[in-house]
Amino acid sequence: MEIKSMYFKANASLKLADPVLQGNLKAVRGKFVEKRIEALKELDDVEATRDAATAIRRRVTDNLDVWLEHFEQNAVAAGATVLWAKDGAEVCRLVIEIARRHGVSKVVKSKSMLSEEAGLNKALEAAGIQPVETDLGEYILQIDGNEAPSHIIAPAVHKSLNQVADLFHKIHGTPRKTDISALTREARDVLRSHFLTAQMGRTGANFLVAETGSVALVTNEGNGRMVTTLPPVHVVVSGIEKVIPTLEDLATLMRLLPRSATGQSISNYLSVLTGVRMPDEQDGPDHLYVVLVDSGRADLVGSDFHEMLNCIRCGACMNHCPVYQTIGGHAYGWVYPGPMGSVLTPLYRGLDQALDLPQASTLCNQCGVVCPVRIPLPDLLRKLREKQTEQGLRSVSERFGLRLWSWLAQKPQLYSLAARFAARYLAWLAGGEDRIRVLPVFSEWSLGRDLPAPEGRTFREIHARRKKQALKDVATALRKEGR
């Protein structure tokens, strides 16, 4: 997927000025938050479960190579072909090769964010192979001119019911309807024929289970089942970090994933797919390929950002992020929005490709406290800011300003003078009012807010004056007594 993260700020402005989007964001705001709280109440001990989940993820990412080999061995034993791709281009090349080998002209796809990273749909189309999205949200986006997802688990969350109604009416040529189940039925009718005619099914993986060589898929609509059982060829595209040791670990993680993601106790479907269809089995593909993709992940092993590999892609961080809630996912400019995206985008695509993302956070740590695997997202964002500074990627004025301030703060007398000047200057700007309406220098403040007027003198100067006065009073009193 083409990266547009360098235009974050301008795009965020556009999103803020879009009344339809703002309405849609407002309508969904808080829904995931409340449902998550309710769903987590069902667990006996949420914190212990989070600890266990974190330990599982750490166990794997600390020895990723070993667990990947385990997975590969067992997947191959079950009849799968395991392929390795170092980047998105290689993913596209491999999948197109597989498609050609099996004479595929149509691919039905269940959700996969890694495919978005690789731009796989576009590459397939260019190779003359038709990709069909079958997740309802993704399908909506595909028929709306291949719009990008704005959320990792609810890709069309930025769209309203009315927008979808208009879209279906326009694309399907059916009478316009706003009944959700009728719209869903309509999409289902359209998709059914694709399921039956596609020669290849394509999915991502929520987890790869090493001990059995299985691919675990968490879905809600049943499209995942169709994609993985109807076509003769199934291709899984997964990041190398998705591996977990055992099925029991899967059970532990599944206690947290749907609850953290959508606030569901359990997703409607959990598929654990192991190998190809055996002669005595009814369902499953004749050919199963698992493409394991690096695309920047191996570089994170042992780095300052290692913990990001533990991410289970639940989306809780974005659901709880005040910035995401305000601007939606598109402004982030690449596949992953919200706090996890603000960490991953610069790491996978280059620090200089996403300068705003690590900065565009209040570091409120709402993301950190809801992360089921305890990734300290604000710390990682701060570390990315540090890397930007180290590599000279911040603007000259910012670096100079920061250095000047930092130098000043180490010189108490000078700092005190500067603070006195600033207090008077700000009071003068207020011009007798209780607020400053237009703030120079830090002018962004006054874009949407006033600045309350300062008292006009600094605490330290008033305190020093009062102390002096008190001493004088004591001296006077002593003199009087002496007399």
């Binding site: 005040p322 603070a419 962004e444 949407g448 807010r449 330290r460």
Partner: protein
């Protein structure tokens, strides 16, 4: 008990009355309050901007100035958190300083935490007849666990009726430098906070961090709501 007051750069610059209210509260509770005149900033802006060297220099400066006190009290959860949580991190690689940072961290408290948890204050000088709502600032709440302390203290003033707003734990959008780097986004987040404040029906919004309060007051005024007062909890408790 000798208490060092770390007044914070925002209170120093914008609203000294919060500093004096803090002194009054501490003295009323029987503390000897000392204000080191050489104090400046805790270094959080540098740390959050990715300037680790600048942050370390200011951390050392603050440690040297405050380590002699029995306690250090800060009228801000955010700055207290910088000293308590971040200083030991920032200086972890420097043996002597790492220990000093940890010692100071253990003695440093946000104001309401200090009053409620350490001093177990059961009387405050403040008098007020009003319905108030409390904004939980992020660092204080999520890092220092400050939630019940300010509410317990407010309950000591008979005329204060606390009406919780929805989303009281949500960020107001201040975020330090974020508020001037991404002004539009910050203002939009603040708008949501203000809508919740308005919906609560409270006449006064109270908080423990001046950064949030400037952001909230600035947004309320821009939205045209002049009648709602925005106060730091120290001012309310001290009756200043």
């Amino acid at each position: 008990m000798r208490v060092g007051l770390f007044v914070t750069c925002l209170v120093d610059l914008m609203r000294p009355s919060i500093g004096f209210a803090t002194i009054k509260l501490l003295e009323t509770a029987g503390c000897e309050v000392v204000v080191p005149a050489v104090q400046t900033c805790c270094g959080q802006p540098a740390w959050n901007a990715g300037d680790a060297a600048g942050a370390a220099a200011l951390a050392k400066k603050t440690i040297a100035e405050f380590e002699a006190f029995d306690y250090v009290v800060v009228p801000s959860g955010s700055c207290a958190d910088q000293i308590r949580t971040e200083y030991p991190c920032i200086l972890s690689g420097q043996p002597g300083w790492a220990t000093r940072a940890k010692v100071l961290a253990g003695r440093t408290f946000e104001l309401t935490d200090f009053l409620a948890t350490v001093l177990k204050t059961d009387r405050v000088p403040g008098r007020l007849e009003a319905t108030v709502t409390y904004h939980d600032a992020c660092a204080g709440l999520r890092s220092l666990g400050i939630k019940t302390q300010p509410r317990e203290l407010l309950a000591l003033i008979p005329g204060v009726r606390l009406k919780e707003m929805s989303g009281c734990e949500e960020c107001c959008g201040f975020g330090g430098v974020f508020s001037v780097k991404f002004g539009e986004i910050a203002a939009s987040i603040a708008e949501r906070k203000c809508e919740n404040i308005l919906a609560s029906g409270a006449q006064t919004v109270v908080g423990g961090d001046l950064g949030c309060l400037l952001n909230i007051e600035g947004k309320l005024r821009r939205m045209g709501h002049d009648s709602i007062t925005v106060r730091h909890i120290a001012e309310i408790l001290a009756g200043e």
